[in-house]
Structure formats: C-alpha cells, structure tokens
Point group: C2
Chain length 330, copies 2
Amino acid sequence: MSRTITVAAAQLGPIQKAEGRDVVVPRMLRLLERAHQRGAEVVVFPELALTTFFPRWYHEDLNEADHWYETSLPSPATQPLFDAIRKYGLTVYLGYAELVNDTDAQGVVRKRRFNTSVIIAPSGEIVLKYRKVHLPGHAEYASHRAVQHLEKRYFEVGDLGFPVVRAPVGAAGQPVNLGMLICNDRRWPEAWRVLGLQQVELVMLGYNTPAMNQDNKGFEAHHLRVLHSQLAIQSGCYQNACFGVAVAKAGKEDGHELFGHSIIVNPQGEIIALAATWDDELIVADCNLDLCELGRTTVFNFEKHRRPEAYGRIVEQTGSVPPAVWTPSR
Amino acid sequence: MSRTITVAAAQLGPIQKAEGRDVVVPRMLRLLERAHQRGAEVVVFPELALTTFFPRWYHEDLNEADHWYETSLPSPATQPLFDAIRKYGLTVYLGYAELVNDTDAQGVVRKRRFNTSVIIAPSGEIVLKYRKVHLPGHAEYASHRAVQHLEKRYFEVGDLGFPVVRAPVGAAGQPVNLGMLICNDRRWPEAWRVLGLQQVELVMLGYNTPAMNQDNKGFEAHHLRVLHSQLAIQSGCYQNACFGVAVAKAGKEDGHELFGHSIIVNPQGEIIALAATWDDELIVADCNLDLCELGRTTVFNFEKHRRPEAYGRIVEQTGSVPPAVWTPSR
C-alpha cells in the first residue's frame, strides 16, 4: 500500500498594515474550507500569516510593535482557525510572530520575540514549534534602503534548532516525518540537511519575500528572485529526499511587492503544483511518501556516501576566509 | 574595471573501452585549440577525461585495471596537452585516474588509487590537486545491476579535503579563487559550502553520469537525471555566490549512455551556456567575477547570517536517524 497524503499550500494575498486579524482570519477560514473540499489532509499557511509583513516598518521603541505579535495560541482572534482545524480534521502549519514574557529569578519580566511556526494537530494540539534561525536583513534603520527589512531588530535567532517529529496527519492519521523552515531558511542548505539527517519526509515552509532585493545595488533582475527561491527549495527537496510545501504571502502590501509562486515539490526536485496568482489561492497535490525512501536508500544514502570528516569548516567557521595564494615558480 | 574572465567547458563525446590515450589526446588538443580561438583563458575537461568510464567494468584483481590510471603527469602520452597549454597560455582542469605507489617504512610498496583532478597553470605547473571525496556506487560486483558502478572499488576516498587556491589564470594572469569538485560531489551541498567558506569564485567540475540510475528500481524518469544535475549545480553556485563550469563526458560508451548538457552557471544560479550535443563540444562564456562579491556581501554574507550552532548534526552524524515520535494526548 502506498503512503500517499494530500497536501495543500494556502497562499495568502496581501495584508495591508491597517488590516487586523478580523480581516485575515476569515480569509484563512475560507482557505481551510476549500482545502477540506479538495481532500487535503495537511494545509500550510505563510510566514507571519496573521499580519502584514511588519518588519518593513521601523519602530524606535520595540514595545510599540507588540500588537503584531501573538502572546498565546489559540487566542480569541485565532480560536476560529483551531475550531475549523478540528472540524475538518486537518494538520496545519501556521507562521506568526511570537511574544514570550520570560520572568527571571528576580521577578523581572523580559520580552522575547521570535519569528515562529507551529504544526497544529487535527485535535488542535500543538505538535511542534519552530523558531526561525536564519533572520535576514538588519537590526538598525538603514537609510540607504527604500524599504526596511528589520527582522534582526524584531526577532531573536531561533533557539529550538531544526526539529523533526513523526506525527499522524489529517483525519486518517497516517504517520509522517514533519519538519519546518521559515522564509530565508530555505536558502541555506545546512538547514535542509539538518532536517534530512532526521529523515524528514515533508518540509513545510512559509515565506514573505520582497519581489526586489533592496540590498542588491541594481545587479539582480526582478524575476531572478523567483528562480532563487525555487532553486533553493527544489534542490533542498532533491538532496534530502523529501517533499516540500513552500507558501507565499503575495502581492502588494501598502505598495510593497511580495512575490507569490507558492510551490509543492517532490523528492525528485520537480514542482508538482504552482500558484499562479498573487492573491489568496489554494494548490493541492498528492504526495507519495515512498518516493522519500527511494532517494534515501540510493543516491542519498547518507550512511554510505556522506564524508563528515571533510565538512569541518561548516561548523568551525561562521564567515568565509580567503584561500591560500599560489604563485608560479617560473 | 570589471574582473571578467573567459571560461570554456570542453565536453568530450564517448571514449570506447578499446580506445587509448592516442585517440583521446588528439581530440582534447582540438578542443584546446578551439578554446584558444574563442578567447578562453580557462578550459575545463571532464572527470576521467583520458579513458572510458572504466568503473562500469569489473575486475576481480585490481592490478588488471592499472592501465586506466596515470602514474605521472605529464607522461609521454599526455605531454602534448601540456605543450598546448603552454602554447596557448591556458589554465586547465583535467580529471584522471591517479595511481600512487606509496612505500612504507618497511619498504613495502602499496598502490593507492584516486579519482583525481588537477588545475594546470599556463606554465604547465600543477597549481592544485583534488581527490574525489563522494564516491558513488559500490565496491563489490552487484548482480542486480545491468551496469556496474564500481567507484568504491577502484578508488579510495579523497584525502585532500576541498581546497581552494587563489591563482593567476590564463595569459593575462588575473587572480581568481579556484576550487574543484568531481561528478557526484556536485550533489552534496556540504562540498559546495566548504568551497564557499574559502571564497571560491570559480568551481570547476567534470562528470561521467549514466543517463539512467541503475539503482532506482524503475521509479526515476530518464530525463530527471539532467534536472538533478543542473539543480545541484545551479543551487551550489547561487548559495555560494560563485561561477560553476560543469563538464560531461557524454554519449554511448560501448552501448552505455552518459548524458551531456555541460553547463556554465553564474552566481545568480542562471545557466549562461549549455552544450546541446553528446559529442566533443566547446561552450564559452564571459564570467564577471564582481557578481561573486555581490552575493557574498548581501544575502550570502556568511558572517552576518550563518548559524553554525544549529548545524551540529552535519558533522556529528554520517547517516540519518529517525525523529522523535509524537502521539496525540487526547
């Protein structure tokens, strides 16, 4: 019997700065209903799905930005999502900004902020939490940029590693090895490999990616941004013998363009479903998990073929170093 | 002033088992002459460029296979290549089977065999040597396979790491950070990253890749083999902000098909030149090395964005491990 699950990418169109969760949650509910109608067992929403991509807006005082964050899940505003998840028997990936109030031994409360995603079980329980490790952008206001990208200001680096969990998915409860990435993580093969080394079968990832690289000094053609995203996801899936569901927040948020092109990718690196709008859109694909086994036992049989003794620099260095210089002897 | 170099991929068509270096070297000389005519400063030949892809042929006694290996470079048979390199002022990547006679303290000679590539300077000097780390296939005769892939029999795992060197290239002598991979290495993002951590600008790699995966139990469509190769190379170049020149031995060797599709790829992950035959063919592209600097200082500024503390499994594990199991509490 083949291990096939049906997965959906629930792409969201733009969320304007002025739009609250009361606008977004009903849109997400419609996507959950549609996913159920199309037979999906797993639904993946974007990164920071409940709000606009607020790291483009600067606040001198971080406390002024607290309204973008969730302090609990579910909350009154997000409870309808959990109700729908239970009603339809879905497994759901949700990206959001997480605010934690940590109290130290002296009773002093310290606010901690993360760019977070969770996997929610059909029962409404949280199966797994992930906090984004690869935060792009910068921490201080950058006057050379037309648009800010302040993730390093608004979030701490994730402190949960890259966990994978085997959990039953959907109403049928078929067990699947599940892992998560968030946005910029997908460009880093190290992140994919750490998931692959835990036999991940389905990588869920949401993103908010500006259609233009504001840091690129004009060298990088607009359309290459999509190529880069897809290359990183397709190679990550191929090289780790897993499926990937990569889901955009897309379109113009207060005039600032995010690209769409949400995709579902198989372990051969093929795009098997593609969103073609920059709006709320659901794409669905059947994923035969036996294909993961194929890659994992042949070309990417890690035990047989990897050579960690040659990979030392990956963990011994953060930045790059200049190579040795060779000069001709004659 | 832009740092532009002109690089060529010198794809070779098939070399039959019965064909010796006397057949191959003249073909390579024609490609070097053609590269010179087209203004190339760097020329990349395939893996095991001087012979057929002999790991498909089984020998019980390894000593019977010695004639496939080089014991010195140059040798009388390969001297004409070195003469042409000097005449045209080229920097050349050459892949070959290397046989080393190691004498131990007791005077006992031990034969060591590697799948090797070298960078040859315009002067004829060897600039850098690399020995393939990721050997695919198997060490013993595999009766379930129609075609053998005995690299693990014929070669030891490379013992030189993934070195990068800064060396002047071509007649103009512009310094470039040069690195090498061989064939199956290209599928392993760890290998690319170790080069990237040494600021590689140009990755040269040769390959002999069967058009069908004999280990795939029929799941893997023929054409996906090319997609896999290109995905791995394009993402490797993008994620490490370097150019790549990937060069095939192509066509039917004694009835066994190797795919072609040699490519030159830029740091944006774009294929900027593509070989379209399965025969001897030269493709040439100008590579503006300033594009490497762009990637290295923005999205892939490793110092700013990498998080090695989350990458431990990459060097702590060889094979994969099963993930934790989660069960619903209700």
